[in-house]
Amino acid sequence: MSAFIRPSRRGLIKAAGATALLGGIGMPGISRAQSDVLRFGHLTPRTGFLGPLGEFAVMAADLAVEEINAAGGVMGRKLEILKEDSVNPQTASTKAERMIERDKVACIIGEISSASCLTIAQVAARTKTLYVNTGGNSDALRGANCNKFMFHVESQNSMYVKTCGRSLMQQGLVKGKKWFSLTADYAFGHDLLKVAKRFMEANGGQFAADKLVPTDLTDFSALLIEIRNAKPDLVISNLAGNQITNFLKQYSEFGLTFPVAGFGFDTALAWAAGKDNFGGTWPVVWHHLIDTPNSKKFVQAFTAKYKKPPENQAWGDYLAVKIFAQTMNEIKSTDSMKIIEHWEKGATFDVMKTREGYFRKSDHQMMHEMYTVQAVGASAKNQWDIFSSSPAVPAANESLEVIATTAEENECKMA
């Protein structure tokens, strides 16, 4: 569209004037507030196909800040959070840079798109500012692209695959079975497919078919016909965002009965499909039915404020803000290097699950429990509680690291 817009000279002068005016008003405000206010930067997609999840991230971050300030702030200072729509990888890095250079934020939190995580992480490394990724799943971010200034609260693709994979093994859907896989045709899907294939082959399964699906395809009827014809033992979704909702709605519409499972998932997508259409086995990093005191407290506070329960993306952003505040209060410093040192030494955090979590030193991935959910169908009490949960994975007697990548699978060399 921009090709059509020719700015007039008058328009340019007006815009320039407005910018100058805004700058003049904005700057003194910032410098005056500096001493008694501490700022965090928050970036996440709020429009586009990840926007629906980004909205939960923003709501959760706001809630966390509210609670932190009610409890006395960070090192006696009031916490403020600057929130922006990250839009795409280029815009994300520009905005991260502006938040760090101009607004002097102490750290950056957020993201859902792995591609934007990468560009933000590059800015973080260059400016030596900490960045905590709350929603980007790609293994590469913890491997080839890992970096000293990036930590991950969100689980990596391998953790999702191995968690759901355990449930599939228990159901006897891997060894000697044929999978029909549908993969979102972009970076995230490809990364997930690679990990899923590694798991399947290592455990004796094989592909009946392996199809790439364009991200703008809304109608799955043709693929449903292919699935029906192939008679697989299991249909696997490596899809993303609205694709998952469309797929679930239409899978139920066509009345296909092959078991369904997925390796990437968000509860908002199940809610959008509705209890009539949601089906299958899916991995989640957290969900609103987890029965621990802190998780319940979070769900209660969130539901009271926003009139709906938090989605799994809300957990990541809420937790990241809380962890930063807790750490800064404990070590009495906002210095990135000191925080990294503290986290790398194995500091543990209440992550609202049965066990505490910690950042693994080798790749900065948060080690914590995961869950799989399964549809409960028509017996659902309401529009939110439409799934039941597995116990925490890994089990209580296992190391938290068994579901994460090994050093051979995903090598991280931190500079």
């Binding site: 059509f4 709020r46 364009p214 809304t218 016909i225 609205n242 709605k249 809610w271 959008a272």
Partner: protein
Amino acid sequence: MSTLFLQQIANGLLDGVYYLLIALGLSLIFSLGGIVNLAHGAFYAIGAYLTVVLGPHIGFGGAMFVVPGLVAILGVLVERLLFQRFYRSDPILSLLLTFGLAMVAEQLLRMIFGAPPLSYSIPGWLRGQIFLGDFIYSRYRGTLILIAATCILALWFLLNRTAFGRVVRAGVQNPDMVGALGIALPPYMMAVAAIGIGLAGLAGVLLAPIYSIHPAMGQEIITPAFVVVVIGGLGSFWGVVAAALLVGLVKGATIGLGYPQFSTAVIYLMMLLVLLFRPRGLFGERIQRFE
């Protein structure tokens, strides 16, 4: 040819019909008023959201009649307040107007209903599948096709067999001559906008049970619908119908041959070829004032 491939072709043809309700309205509004309505998808989205809101009270059947009417009224308002001012101006201006309108509508939906998608299911009485030998089809989609086909035939009848249609067709070719004959075109423009936009609302109702309902859903459908109009030829009724079926068929064949990853790219390739070798579209009519 394998039966699977034949199934994909048949399914593809039916798939094309979904675009038609959107594409026909788009083509109608363009050919009479010269406005490329990029906000057409927004009316489709509004139709879907109204279905979610009103469905629990008036049922899906009720929504099928009430929602298109409400969306058509909204269309009349937009036509009277906005479109009307741009019929005689540079198409670029109306393109910018409707592009902006689409963004405003999307953001309003986001503000009112929130960004997360809403759920809506196929009503119980339309659930189930139809089996014809090897061929499987959902009963809901079968019904959807019948409704869409009825609307398309009714629209054709209205445009080609009634006095109303004669004025509209004359207005497409030569608005000045219609005016000289003492016929005021504005009420016809308004009616055309109401019909075209009402059809988009109907598409919203019909697709709400099977597609994800989210604020940007209008954007998702406007591009392929626009491609269908370009391939078919602006102003040609059967051209748009043929193009919708052709797009569906080529998409089905692409998936049938085992390349689902190219299934959306292939329709843009078709548009490129049509624009290179037959810029007026497959069945495009000569419209004097656009020559």
